[in-house]
Symmetry: C2
DNA sequence: CGACGTCGGAACGGAACCGTATCGTCGCAC
DNA sequence: GTGCGACGATACGGTTCCGTTCCGACGTCG
């Protein structure tokens, strides 16, 4: 039986290495060194470097966004944005995620894993917020949910990870109002 | 005198290698091989791999967005979005850019170069569109330009490069209307 | 107790790459 | 036509990494 704690140590080491050097620079020897583990322990679990990386990254699931029902669309949106900000500000996630995005173009299997583990769950949470607002009568029923969800995630990722600009409370407040207006929310 | 055409061949080779394997996997030997050039030609120009990569990527300037004055904010925004879509869909750019974004977190000098060569010029173009709209009376003068610009670039990058979903004309049309509403544009 | 499987560690041959040095060649300027 | 400088090519010693194969130690289970 493979020791679970060894597997955990390896997983942690892989994520640390990914955060530091990116996927392209990750080496088996460095992972083993950091995990305090023999290379044999790595190859006993995965048959190649790529397989290990994809496996670890596929299991790199995202902390579920807490989309508490605040009772209003404004409150819900603000909460979703705050959760996104917290997620993207996390030291490890914020370093690994952009690399993961870049690698999607080169590894279709990784892209699929990411979509399943990261994209879909998050989108479902966001969709629930919209649905509640529709039921409350705050949003028209024929709203373009696809587009609305893009509008929630995109600006924060763009601003923090792409533009490397600050995302503070004022920004989230202003963005909330902008999104409300874009969606045609009723007062 | 260094031959300009050799420099060009090297630059092309670097960009091709970057598109194929990413920054982390780029090697001097591979670049020289692809460019049909001796390694000496590389080290004659740059003193290290990192210096070469940063130099090439800094010169990897973005094709200026054509922000023709269409006479209306709706037309201008639609044109900006179309330009963005074309840019991000470009086979080479779309592969290099996410990698560049990821690497920004690891190389502050690269981040600065990218901001100067890519971010700023693009934002100035976008700001001009907003300014024209304000002068036309289509937008309030106290509009949050920072936020408005994020709203233009973010969704397309998000959708195409992060989510890997399709960005078609209908999407751009719908996004245009959403942005207009978000900005509080007058009819 | 004894057998088994995983453990960390070390070593292997082979490959890729680094950065430098040194060829002989070619083209241009003087 | 002579000299200079960049050129492609090749080789170098050194490093890093791959993936595999051993080893002795340890723990667990029967």
């Amino acid at each position: 039986m493979l020791h679970a704690d060894v597997t955990d140590a390896i997983t942690e080491a892989v994520l640390d290495e990914l955060a530091e050097g990116g996927i392209g620079r990750l080496s088996m020897e460095a992972v083993a060194r950091r995990a305090g583990v023999g290379k044999s322990a790595l190859y006993r679990r995965w048959s190649s470097r790529d397989e290990m990386v994809v496996a670890v990254l596929s299991g790199f699931s995202v902390p579920r966004v807490v989309t508490t029902d605040t009772g209003s669309l404004r409150g819900d949106i603000r909460a979703v944005l705050a959760g996104l900000e917290e997620w993207l500000t996390h030291p490890r996630f914020s370093r690994i995620l952009p690399d993961l995005v870049a690698e999607q173009g080169r590894r279709p299997d990784l892209a699929a894993a990411v979509a399943e583990a990261v994209g879909e769950p998050r989108r479902e949470r966001g969709a629930a917020v919209l649905q509640r607002a529709v039921e409350r009568g705050e949003l028209p029923a024929d709203i373009d949910r696809e587009l609305a969800l893009d509008l929630l995630g995109a600006p924060i990722y763009w601003r923090h990870s792409v533009r490397r600009a600050e995302v503070d409370a004022e920004y989230l407040d202003a963005l909330t109002e902008l999104v409300l207006r874009a969606l045609g929310a009723k007062a």
